[in-house]
Assembly symmetry: C2
Homo-oligomer: 138 residues x 2
Amino acid sequence: MKQISTRFSMAVHILSLIAVSSNELTGDFIAGSVNTNPVVIRRIMGMLKKAGLLEVRPGVGGAALLKTPEDITLLDVYRAVNVIDDSQLFRVHEDPNENCQVGRNIEMVLQSELSEAQSAMELRLAQTNLSNLISRFE
Amino acid sequence: MKQISTRFSMAVHILSLIAVSSNELTGDFIAGSVNTNPVVIRRIMGMLKKAGLLEVRPGVGGAALLKTPEDITLLDVYRAVNVIDDSQLFRVHEDPNENCQVGRNIEMVLQSELSEAQSAMELRLAQTNLSNLISRFE
DNA sequence: CACCGTTGTAACCATTATAGTTATATCTAA
DNA sequence: TTAGATATAACTATAATGGTTACAACGGTG
């Protein structure tokens, strides 16, 4: 299956770096830690900016968190970076046959269960914040 | 983001149809209810067979469940159909910089949180079985 | 036995998301 | 003004998905 994009884990990496570091970091330095191309980093940082998690100083460089590490949960990051139209993790096949009892009902009944499962996952993500993560680094 | 494949919802559809129907169904009939190509249905039914949820009578046609609808959970179907190598929902970027405190630790610390979130979702899927779904059809 | 409808697969294709890359415009402080 | 940084567009290779065609194999029925 197609897994959830590494944008998410890279975003957590970026935010952790900024939180841990005392001085301001450039995109190129972050790219070196994540081990990818600086443009990929800037792209993700753009999403984090749009979500209000980050501010970046253009021109001179350097980024800072807009919330404390305690106030940034994994769910915040997940939402900032996994930009889905309807933010639905599961996709249900479209246009089943309405003349069939199953086809007529499957979408609504199943969708409600899948939303519950998605919520369970997101609830768990919301229980971990950046501060929790960082405290476990050695 | 790339969402979870409709193979999953189609598989639930297929199993529901078989569970609801008294007589044996052909792949073509099921394809008509799901509203897709019969080969897509056969492909998914192949996965459900491999997972031990279904048996199919080749030649003559017709399929039957190998477990009762009470004993088939959404998690069973999800696992049967979302064949991932390591069955990890989340993907973490590879080869971060080991010379950096964050790069050195991010993978293990984050992976453990993500596994928890995935488990929360799967646990919820396991709480719903085919019988639950069917009983809600009108 | 021959036929016909079915299942089982392989092969191919168009579409889409991802992650990386190059190139260029813009910004800010020195 | 310049150096170094961000912002963004455009392009690429790769991979998963879902649909399609084609064909082999199976198994009752006539």
